[in-house]
């Protein structure tokens, strides 16, 4: 260990200098830690950890009810979990996207990175990957909890004489489809929230802007859907779902990942629209990433 604490002379560093993957990994870890307030003081931890706890509560409650009721219909549809809890997810997007998308811009930290051997692409992708990871954990952990609860209770449900208990294979298939859905939710919601936050770097504005875009897109789409449904035009109502982040991803869940349209409202994406919804979702991700790179490249020069 340190034997020369009294030696205050300058020592040169002649150890290894690691390359691009180490740098990218360091950036990713730092961003992920920042998102959950690690290394940022107690107050910064409160909101993300409280939201993570709120995300778990309904799943835990559902398992508890399942253990008493012992009927499969009590189990929340896995693919609907993120949609039921979208207010919590929206608050996470609004409060945490500015943490990694606008702090570096607001406090002019970006040049400290770009004066090091850091590529803009890596810098932005590290932020994006960290946010996707956080969101994915937020949604996938409770869904996993639900599935584990189902597996634990399945025997008891059959013994209790409950009708239509799903097979393990069938339910596990739904679980993996829901995880794919969670990943797509995480990709689309991250790119949407980070982009808005990066263009509104002033304190508080980022939070408000993310929330506003989320709420306004919801309201507008709901109005369009309401009008088209009342005139009997379900096609248009379904297509309108392309224009809010949650219904956009849900269209892919229903039409490509085999989620059950029965538990959804009548404004579900129309049959055959799956590829369009998927392409639109990927386009949101791609365009957002390009704009984010452009934003940070300018901030670094």
């Amino acid at each position: 260990m340190s034997t020369a604490i009294h030696d205050i002379g300058y020592r040169h560093y002649d150890g290894p200098r690691l390359g691009r993957s180490h740098v990218a990994r360091s950036l990713y870890q730092y961003n992920l830690r920042s998102l959950f307030g690690l290394g940022r003081g107690a107050r910064a931890k409160f909101i993300p950890l409280a939201l993570a706890a709120f995300m778990l509560l309904p799943a835990a409650g559902d398992i508890a009810v399942l253990s008493f009721a012992r009927r499969p219909e009590v189990l929340i549809d896995y693919s609907m979990y993120a949609i039921y809890l979208q207010p919590i997810i929206a608050i996470f997007l609004a409060t945490q996207a500015p943490v990694i998308a606008s702090r570096d811009l607001r406090f002019r930290t970006v040049p400290l990175y770009f004066s090091r051997p850091v590529e803009t692409t890596d810098f932005v992708l590290a932020k994006f990957a960290a946010f996707v990871t956080a969101l994915l954990a937020l949604m996938a952990v409770p869904v996993t909890l639900l599935h584990l609860g189902f597996l634990a209770m399945r025997k008891a449900m059959i013994e209790g004489g409950a009708p239509d208990v799903p097979s393990v294979a069938g339910q596990t298939g739904e679980y993996f489809a829901a995880l794919a859905g969670c990943l797509l939710f995480a990709l689309v919601l991250s790119s949407f929230a980070l982009l808005i936050a990066a263009y509104t770097p002033r304190r508080g504005f980022g939070v408000a802007a993310v929330m506003a875009v989320y709420l306004i897109s919801n309201v507008v789409v709901l109005i369009v859907q309401g009008a088209s449904i009342s005139s009997g035009n379900y096609e248009i109502a379904g297509w309108a779902g392309l224009f809010t982040p949650f219904t956009l991803v849900d269209g892919v869940q229903v039409r490509l990942l085999g989620a059950d349209p029965g538990v959804r409202a009548e404004n579900v994406a129309p049959a055959g629209s799956g590829p369009v919804f998927l392409l639109a979702a990927l386009a949101v991700v791609g365009v957002s990433l390009l704009l984010l790179m452009n934003r940070f490249r300018k901030a670094g020069a």
Partner: protein
Amino acid sequence: MTGGAGASSLSGMPIIATRDLTMRFPGVTALDALSFTVETGVTGLVGANGAGKSTLIKILLGLLPPTSGGALVLGHDIAVEGPRIRGSVGFMPEYDCLPPDVSATEFVVHLARVSGLPATAARERAADVLRHVGLYEERYRPMGGYSTGMRQKVKLAQALVHDPRLVFLDEPTNGLDPQGRDEMLALIRRIGTEFGISVLVTSHLLGELERVCDNVVIIDGGRLLSAQSLAAYTEASGRLLVEVEDGREALERHLAERGATVRPDGRHLVVDLAGEETYDLIRDGVADLGLALVRLEQARHHIEEVFR
């Protein structure tokens, strides 16, 4: 101590060499055909605010392509080897660039890792370098509560944490009180000598750089004003500076009557040095008039004179 491997291998070769470096923005020429070389040691880059100093640093970091001309930094071409340059230099911006909710330790360790240091080495280097810049217990507290002086120290620490061969320090004394300024200047001197890291330090104040720099590059309106050894400015000027307590006018008359060329300059008298006898003349004059001699020395040029 491992010795300055980086510094010694570079001796004899310029740290920075620019050739006709020109940077035009719409309506402004920030740099106009700058050609100069910088050797190892501490080099001052002096110019009025807006003279193009920060632009020059960005170009030398390979972050901003110049309109025309080129430069080598540590032997690497800024046009094609930007990443290699940025791996071996440190940069301290002139503006505030620290997130307020993170501690200095957390932040400097992170930036060390981003420079390619493994996690353990990053922690050790960060602790070392924060101590060298004079940040102790407070390094565990969030930086939002730091004084300007402490913030400048963290900015300096992050520029040094990966043991670069050259650091660019942009206006490091900005916003510091006189004591903080002295500390910072002493630290810059130590970086150049004891640490063996070459320094390019900018300032709009000529006087303060004079104390710590081996060489000065002066730019004004994007043009090179002078790039020569500081010694050239401050070599003996052939004049003597005399300061006495009360009776300056009497001494001035006394010396003038005996044929010396004398003029007052503030509290001093400036006497042209005609030869050894000028010293005797002043000594005798002071003695004859019964004055208290405070100072008698060779006057030196100040680099401020360049701007006159």
